[in-house]
């Protein structure tokens, strides 16, 4: 086992991995690349290709980590090194651009990407920002909210936020908690549909429904409609409720679908 003192020429590939190699003070290098124990002065030199050792030490890393790694690899090596370190789906032009955009995001956001196993496709809005020359840092308040959400909700908020930023030329105000921000952005992104749904909702609220019957205006994808709940305690009650509802049918249709 050869211990080497780190010289100027050693490249420290500190991509801030989420899970440190154990034991944490272990410092390993191959060729002239230090791959763990980044705070050290001396490291164990392992024989062979440094990319092989890297893969051995970090068998599973997330996109956020890859984004940080890409910056370091590009600073110090050529495309071949990147290819050796990653799977072919990260060699494409699309993937590289998305990773570049992700490398401009905060560490907190990158960690959310890794924790939630967010896919490259779901990060596409970041690439769109880069292509439209919008500095990613200006969207930090949005990314912060995204990082508070689940994978699906976060991905939605990211997409709505970037769409709105590009349509309106500025990011709408972000206030309240992340879930409220998501609702607010969704309403803005689907402005006309939301208006229409809200109109139906308020008409429904103003309608006088029979006792034991409640109604909601619900949206499921491209369709929205009336959802009814009827509470009946016995067959007689059930029949009564249905009759009451039947009497209300015309009125309800008029109120809800009057402009359809």
């Amino acid at each position: 086992m050869e211990i080497k003192t780190l010289t100027q020429s050693v490249i420290k590939l500190d991509f801030k991995p989420r899970y440190a190699v154990k034991p944490e003070d272990l410092a390993l290098m191959a060729e002239d690349v230090l791959l763990c124990g980044f705070g050290t002065e001396k490291a164990i030199l392992r024989p062979g290709d440094w990319t092989e050792l890297f893969k051995e030490l970090y068998p599973k890393i997330g996109l956020g980590e890859y984004a940080r790694l890409l910056t370091l690899v590009e600073e110090n090596f050529d495309q071949e090194a990147w290819k050796k370190l990653t799977r072919p789906n990260l060699w494409t032009e699309d993937a590289m651009e998305t990773l570049h955009a992700l490398s401009d995001c905060s560490f907190e956001f990158q960690s959310w990407v890794d924790d939630k196993k967010v896919s490259l496709m779901e990060l596409h809005p970041l690439k769109l920002l880069l292509q439209n020359k919008v500095p990613i840092k200006t969207l930090q308040p949005l990314l912060q909210k995204v990082a508070e959400l689940s994978r699906q909700e976060g991905q939605q908020l990211l997409e709505y936020g970037v769409d709105l930023r590009l349509i309106k030329g500025e990011l709408p105000n972000i206030g309240g908690d992340a879930k409220k921000t998501l609702e607010y952005f969704k309403d803005l992104r689907f402005q006309n549909t939301t208006k229409q749904d809200n109109r139906k909702k308020s008409r429904l609220q103003a309608s006088n429904l029979p006792k034991n019957i409640s109604a909601r205006w619900v949206r499921m994808g491209d369709q929205a409609g009336l959802e009814l709940r009827i509470l009946s305690v016995n067959p007689k009650d059930f029949e009564k409720n249905l009759n009451n509802l039947k009497q209300k049918k015309e009125e309800l249709c008029q109120i809800i679908w009057k402009d359809s």
Partner: protein, 373 residues
């Protein structure tokens, strides 16, 4: 040389011809038209490493580079609308190529194409043999065959002359209809041949406002109307596909103006087919659309929802409103106008037409099931 031809020759950077296609008529023609520097005879497909989903740049590249190759496999396919949950019109597609030289923001090829080249199949004679076989098996059935699914039927025709060949071929099968679908006005090469009664040229059309914003490189509204008139005068059957209808602020005004122009330029009996469909695309396609056309595009700004068929569509009420408006505007001009909805779900049919197509006498025949090819 016509303007169309000149523009096409300018538009393409390279024409790669696979050695197996070298002796085909289409290769001869391309070699005679393009400058030598653009022609390359190749032993294998260029950029073979590229498989799977294309990036935006690769897609752009595919619009500027032609690859001529024989088609392996069947040419003849059922329309993609013929799926459970979608009402469809027994339409068969004959794919003579892949990719298009025009550039619509919503084009479904953006999620479909996995080769960064505009492919032209050189073995059209094998396609015609396939049709011959099916025609012999079902001589009395009325098939509709379209060529505009994976490539525009006419826009590249000045280069390939394929439609002329098809028109001549279809004369043998008077019960069949050849449907050429286009957004171009490249019809002059068809006016030299004697028309066949069973050839229908249809234009996908939108108001000029939409064409300008979303259908880049296509013929303008007036050019399409003029091409339709010329084709009618030459004796072809003609039609319009209002597809995809695209929502925008002044959509009513613009679509109403479009209908007015059409109803004053043509009579109902002159238009054999009028179909309508609304904007739809695969969910993952939105990424490329946003990259390529930006967020100022009406399509990218659209409020799209995932529908039960797995595609992004407008809210169903908005779709109904748009279709109803279109139908009503036509009916205001005359009760004799009939519009068919294309690639729509049965609910839309039921709400806008008060029936499904098989129950409407005028168009029932189009939707009767045919044996599978």
């Amino acid at each position: 040389m016509s303007n169309h031809l000149e523009r096409l020759i300018d538009q393409f950077d390279n024409v790669f011809i696979h050695r197996d296609s070298r002796d085909s008529q289409v290769s001869d023609r391309l070699i005679s038209l393009f400058p030598e520097s653009k022609i390359h005879i190749v032993d294998e497909k260029p950029r073979p490493e590229k498989t799977g989903h294309l990036s935006s740049n690769e897609f752009e590249y595919s619009k500027r580079n032609i690859y001529v190759t024989p088609h392996r496999g069947s040419f003849f396919k059922r329309c993609p609308g013929a799926k459970p949950g979608l009402v469809c019109c027994n339409y068969f597609v004959l794919n003579l190529g892949l990719q298009c030289n025009m550039n619509c923001s919503y084009c479904y090829l953006q999620s479909y194409l996995n080769t960064p080249l505009l492919t032209i199949y050189s073995n059209i004679e094998e396609a015609l043999q396939e049709i011959d076989q099916i025609a012999t098996q079902h001589p009395d059935l009325h098939y509709r065959v379209g060529t505009g699914e994976t490539i525009d039927s006419l826009s590249l025709d000045p280069l390939t002359l394929y439609s002329s060949e098809l028109i001549t071929f279809f004369k043998k099968y008077p019960k069949w209809t050849l449907e050429l679908k286009t957004k171009s006005n490249a019809i002059d090469q068809l006016l030299d041949i004697e028309h066949a009664d069973n050839v229908l040229i249809s234009w996908s059309i939108n108001p000029q406002f939409v064409i300008k914003r979303e259908e880049h490189g296509t013929a303008s509204f007036n050019e399409r109307i003029a091409a339709a008139r010329k084709s009618r005068d030459h004796g072809f059957q003609i039609g319009f596909n209002f597809d995809p209808m695209i929502y925008h602020e002044n959509w009513k005004e613009n679509y109403s103006q479009m209908v007015k122009t059409i109803t004053s330029a043509f009579s109902p009996s002159e238009l054999q087919i009028l179909t309508a469909g609304s904007l739809r695309f695969q969910p993952e396609q939105r990424f490329m659309m946003k990259e390529r056309f930006g967020m100022k595009s009406l399509v990218n700004q659209g409020e799209m929802f995932l529908n039960s068929t797995g595609k992004m569509r407008y809210d169903s009420e908005l779709r109904n409103e748009m279709f109803q408006f279109l139908i009503d505007t036509f009916k205001e001009a005359s009760r004799d106008w009939h519009i068919t909805l294309c690639m729509e779900v049965p609910e839309t049919w039921a709400t806008t037409m008060a029936s499904t197509p098989r129950k409407i006498p005028e168009i029932r025949d189009l939707f009767e099931p045919r044996p599978r090819a």
